[in-house]
C-alpha cells in the first residue's frame, strides 16, 4: 500500500470517534471470508468512510460508505486501517 510521508499516519478504524471522516487505506486480515465480505460491501482502498455512532457498552460501530450504512464490530474494525481526512 502506498504511503505518503506528509499525510497523517494511518490508524485502525476502531480508533475513530463518531463524526470522524476517513479514507480507507487497507484491509489487514488473513480471514478470506471477512475480506471478501468487506470488499463486497464496498470497503475498498480509497473509499471515504464516515463514523456515525457506536452502540452502547462498547458495541459495534455504525459506519457509512456511500449510500450504505454498516454495523461492524470493533474486532473487525481493528483490521481496517484508515487515514483521517
Amino acid at each position: 500500500m502506498p504511503k505518503v510521508s506528509s499525510a497523517p499516519a494511518s490508524e485502525p478504524l476502531s480508533g475513530l470517534r463518531p463524526g470522524d471522516i476517513a479514507t480507507i487505506v487497507g484491509l489487514h486480515t488473513a480471514d478470506d471470508a471477512l475480506r471478501q465480505r468487506l470488499l463486497a460491501l464496498g470497503m475498498r482502498t480509497g473509499k471515504t468512510i464516515i463514523i456515525m455512532r457506536q452502540a452502547p457498552f462498547g458495541g459495534p460501530l455504525q459506519v457509512r460508505l456511500g449510500s450504505t450504512d454498516l454495523l461492524i464490530r470493533t474486532n473487525e474494525a481493528d483490521k481496517i486501517s484508515v487515514r483521517k481526512t
Binding site: A33, L34, L38, L39, R44, A55, T68, L71, R73
Partner: protein, 597 residues
Amino acid sequence: MKRVALLGMPNTGKSTLFNRITGGSARVGNWPGVTVDLLAGKLLLGGEMVEFIDLPGIYDMHGYSDDEQVVRHFLHDNVPDLVVVVLNATQIERQLSLLLQLRSLDLNLIVLLNMADETRKLGITINRRKMAEMLELPILLVSAKFGRGVPEVLEAITRTLRYPTPGMAEDLRAQLENDDHIEVEMARVLSQSVEIPVRMSDSDTDRLDRLMLHPFWGLPIFFLIMFLLFKCIFLLGQPLQSEVASAFTAIRESALEPLLLAVLPPPLLGFLLDGVYNGVATVASFVPIIVLFFLFMAIVEDTGYLSRAAFLMDALMARMGLDGRSFVMLLMGFGCNVPALMGTRVIRSRGQRLLSMLVIPFSLCSARLQVFVFITAALFAPPHAPLVLFSLYLASFAAALLTALIFKKRLSSDEPFVLELPPYRFPTMRQLWLRSWHEVSHFLRRASLFIVAGVVLAWVLTNFPTGAYPGSLDTWAGMIGSQLNFMFAPLGIPPELTIALILGFIAKEIVVGSLAVIYGHHALDALANTLTHQLDWVQAYSFMLFTLIYTPCLSTIATLRSESKSGGFTLVALAWSLSLAWLVSFLFYQAARALGY
C-alpha cells in the same frame, strides 16, 4: 419447465419482487445439492409454465457464507434458463460487483434496478441506456414494492427465455475470475453511467436514528418496543388460541362424540378422538399465534428496526456467541417458543442460528406459566407466590445463558459480523400477509404430522394396557413412571408427577388437567388440596424447575426438527435440556434437604 432464478444482495427487495410475481402461490421446494429452504412459484408466461426461484440474498459469488454456498450449489446443480439479477439502485456503486461476477459466468442474465424512485431523492442519477450498452445486458427499472415496471419485466423474461439454456462449468469458482479486473470494470461503468453526490443529504432515516439509536435512550426505546410487540402478539394471540381450542372441544362434544359413540368400539374411539383429533387440535391452536407473530415480526423486520435491535444489543449478545436478533427471538420465546424458533430464519449463519434455536426453548413460555401459577397458588403462601414466579423467570434466563456459553464454541459463527443497516421503510400490508401465510403453511406442512403422531403416542401410553384406569400407575406411562422412580426420587418427584411430565412433553397446557385425572379429581381446588398433602414446597419447586427446563412441548421439538433439518441436532437439543433439567432439580432438591427444609 423453464427455470428462472432471482438473485441479488440482501436488502434489494428481491423477495418483494418474487412475491409480486408469484403471489401467494409460492411453495418451499427441494433442490438437488441445496440444504436450505428455497421458495419457488410457477407462472404462465408466453404459453409456457415458468418456475421462479427466490435464491437467498448474497453479497458475493466467491464468498464462504452458508448462503453464498447455497447459491453456488444451486446454480451448479440446477442451471437456470435465466437469472434475474436484482440490484438496489440506491447502492449501485457497490452492488455492481455481484453483477460483474455473474457476467463472467455462462448464464442468461437480465438486470433489474429496483427502488429507482429512491435514487432521485438521494441525488443519484443512473444512465440506464449507457449502462446497458457497456454491460451488453438488458437493464430494466422496477419498483417491486409498488409493482411498477413488473409487466415489462415479465415481457423481457418471456423474450429472453427463447434463448437456449447455457451449460454450467464444472467448477464455478475457477470460472469466477480475479476480482481485480472487476474493480477496474466497475469503476469504468460507474464513471460513465452513474452520478453520485459526494455527501448524502440528511435523510429521514438519519433523523429517526438519532432518536432510535440514541446513546442513552436507544436501549429504553428498544425495550419499550419489545414490550409493546410482546403485548400485541400474545395478548391478541392467547384468547384466539383458546377460542380455537374451545371450538375443537365444542365440535367434539356436540358432533363427533354423539355420532361415533354408538358405532365405534371404545379403543378405536379413544384413538381417533383423544389421539388423532386432539393432535389436530394441538396443531390448530398454534395457527393464530404464528400468524400474529409473523405479522408483527414482519413489521419490525421490514421497517428496518430489527437490524437496529441487533446494533443496540450486540455488545451483550456477542459475549454469548449470539447477536441482537437472537435476543429479540429469545424474548418472543417468553410468549411461545414455536414462532420464535421459526423467526430465527433471519439469522443467516447456520452456526449462530442453531445456537439461537438451542437457547430459545428455555424461555418460560405462557403454557409453562399456567402450570407454575397453579402449583404456586396451591403450595405457596400468597406473599411468596410472586417471588417464586420471579425466581422461575430468573432460572429461565440462567438456563439460556448457561446453554449459550457452553455451546458457543461448538456452534460458533464462521461468518464475519458485518450487517447492513437499511434505511427505514414502510412495510406494505400485502408483504405482511404473504409472510404470515407462508409461515403458517410451512408450519402445517412440516410439523403437523410429527405433532399428531406424538399426541397419539401419549394417548397409547396413558390408556393401555386395556383395563388400566387411564392415566393411573397401571398404564404403560405409569409403569414407565415407576421404572424411572430411581431417577426421579432424588429430585423429590413421585411417580404420579412423572406421568404428568410424560404428558407435559406433549404440551404444558395439559399438565394441570392430567394431574386432575391422575389424582382422580375433577375440580381443580380439590386437586390443589391433594397436592398440598402429597408434596411439600421443596418437591413442588423441584418439579417446577424440571418442568421449566426439560422440554417446552412436542410442537417445539417438531419445529426444532423442521427448522434445523437435522435429527441429530434435535436429539442433542433434547438430551441437553433433559440432562440440565435433571441436574438443576437434583442440585436444588438435595441442597434444600441438606439445609434442613
